[in-house]
Subunit: 396 residues, 2 copies
């Protein structure tokens, strides 16, 4: 029998497609949305035209529920409930977004989902796994569009880390012929992608450098009741706690060779409480300064491990707006031009959402989305699951 | 733009397809597998030829982990880990099953998954939801076949109970022109489907009658360290505790009008401990007798609520082998012929697995799978998500 699913979906790939991507990062500050038109040319290159991007607020109650799940303080009732609640949030976010942009008619949606667990090395349970929630089937039933979700599991099934997934996107849209480029994304966790001057996709190096905003945000909330340190202002007002920074930089993760990935399972407040039991007697601004320095220093450490110092660093994610981090990096990696991805017409906030629109486009076209050289998987694989829960259909 | 996903998938429907279904019920005793060839004729009727069925053992450690998750005694780490572990179990089960049947070449797989939470009425969290785990994406990456999963969410998104889903299958394969038929499945929970003499699909009545084996199994394990009461032998050796049975039968669920669905979130040991604080002083066989009587009586109550006494009752599920339940039902509903579904060439054990093979066939064909008249959803909808995580593909 002919396997009708086993080849690239030419019908999908033959026409330009408009795909909306949604990203909710580990820091859960907001839902990022972006829409682009993708068009595959004969050489296989996929052109992207960004049509719009924006964000949608996440309310405090939802943030707290997610936090309970991530900190293992809630069970199946909450996870199941949140799976539904997030589908409702995404529906509201998309409807709100498209209501203001009546000229955009999307073909499909790609959702990263909310990561509540990521354990590709089976450190916490004897089977490697990852879990991103937000019910794709419910979202599809609500919006009557195909929804692609769960992008990380297939790579983990093939022995990979299920992360990072952004490299194929970075390679397609940021690599240059005559320059070494380093992409830097500072979300809850920070990661880099190395795109060698004229290199092939298999030459990509990409890994999580360590914490991005996750620790800073936690302590900002604890001390100041704020979601994050706007522009790095609090960090700039504090002083470093050298002994704490030293202890943190000695964590095994930073020394480990790439490829590697991490998450809030590891870089969380408990780690700080354990390493620095007297944290309560420190000045808040000094804790924020030190944790921000940890992010900057660990990113710099990561970049220094690359085969060469990059010519350009393009930064994205919330942390790219933190002046303390950016200024410190600019000093540490002083030969490289450090810019926002906006320089390349892709806003720092929208980049990850666009990446999942692009990955959804690939999945619907039957094209693989992982880069085995960076995830460690033994093969390229089509990522994700497709939900298309049509209503009003004639019954067979 | 032409919506390439919005119509029935003729390419899939035009040829006979061989689909494997997997069911793991709430009682988690084993994985049930069944394979059938489906063929849609011009009238829209889908013929089914059962090719094979079997089961695969679930080890005690896995049962305990599932039990921890279901009883809300575990968090995201366990749920994520179990999601992966169950995909591995299903892979092993399918490989073992197909290794012995080399002549069977399957086109796709349908998995119900392990229900860890089902709250369509938002009783436990402010958003209605259901959660079946076993990573479909991992399973697809392992076996290189399309896997359809998460059959209940879309119906819930449209205001339905996400259950029961078996009616469309019962209607297709068990309804008769000159007899009223009642399908009875006794798994962890018991449910019935009413197929009226020559009736239309919208005339179907189906609902959960209440507990199936879940309470019996729990106490069998507690008292005797056994998974279930084989043939109802222990129940037959005990005596009823009339006051306890009376209290149980007064539970609001039994009086509630259909459509209705329930789960182990409600019918669990805690309910018994609360209703009957002195359960510890009862004789074990009397507790088993009374709980078995509860199952039989509540099923009889359910059947008596139907528009007419059925001509035939076809029973399936583990509880259909419990003589105590069957004999009691035969007396209570004495005009109806009570038979195993085997009478209609579908083994009682394989029926639910076949149902999910059938539902997967429908989803891959772009056909709806729910019956709004029984789930309460406001529309028919294509159910589930499709994972097809191909490897060894040429990169675009």
């Amino acid at each position: 029998m002919k396997d009708i699913f086993a080849s690239a979906n030419q019908e999908w790939l033959n026409e330009p497609r408009i795909v909306l991507g949604i990203m909710t990062g580990t820091s859960v500050d907001s839902v990022d949305l972006a829409v682009a038109r993708f068009r595959r040319n004969k050489s296989g290159k996929i052109s992207m035209r960004v049509l719009a991007s924006g964000e949608y607020p996440v309310d405090e109650e939802l943030r707290q529920d997610i936090s309970r799940v991530v900190s293992l303080d809630a069970g199946a009732d909450y996870i199941s409930g949140l799976n539904s609640r997030l589908a409702n949030l995404y529906r509201d976010a998309i409807e709100n977004f498209l209501d203001k942009r009546k000229n955009i008619d999307i073909d499909a949606i790609g959702i990263h989902g909310q990561t509540v667990w990521h354990d590709p090395d089976a450190c916490y349970y004897p089977f490697p796994s990852t879990l991103q929630i937000a019910s794709a089937s419910m979202l599809s039933a609500y919006l009557q569009k195909p929804v692609v979700s769960d992008f990380r599991s297939a790579d983990i099934a093939l022995g990979g880390q299920g992360a990072p997934l952004v490299p194929i996107f970075d390679y397609e849209y940021f690599s240059e012929k005559y320059a070494d480029v380093c992409m830097l994304n500072i979300g809850g966790i920070a990661n880099i992608t190395w795109l060698q001057d004229g290199g092939d996709i298999d030459d990509i190096i990409a890994f999580d450098t360590g914490p991005g905003n996750t620790l800073i945000d936690y302590f900002m909330n604890l001390y100041y009741g704020k979601k994050f340190d706007r522009n790095g202002k609090i960090a700039l007002s504090g002083k470093i706690i050298p002994e704490l920074l030293e202890k943190l930089l000695k964590l095994e993760y930073f020394a480990r060779p790439y490829p590697k990935s991490t998450g809030r399972e590891y870089f969380n407040p408990k780690l700080i409480f354990d390493i620095w039991p007297r944290w309560k007697s420190e000045r808040p601004e000094d804790m924020i300064n030190t944790l921000t320095m940890l992010t900057a220093e660990s990113i710099a450490l990561g970049i220094k491990k690359l085969p060469a110092e990059p010519n350009f660093i393009y930064a994205s994610g919330g942390g790219a707006k933190n002046k303390f981090i950016m200024e410190h990096l600019d000093i540490e990696i002083f030969h490289a031009g450090l810019e926002s991805t906006r320089k390349k017409s892709i806003s720092a906030d929208a980049k990850e959402a666009l990446c999942f629109a692009y990955l959804a486009y690939r999945t619907l076209g039957g094209l693989p989305g992982n880069v085995p050289a960076v995830t460690g998987a033994y093969s390229e694989v089509v990522l994700g699951s497709i939900s298309y829960n049509n209503i009003y259909k004639p019954r067979a």
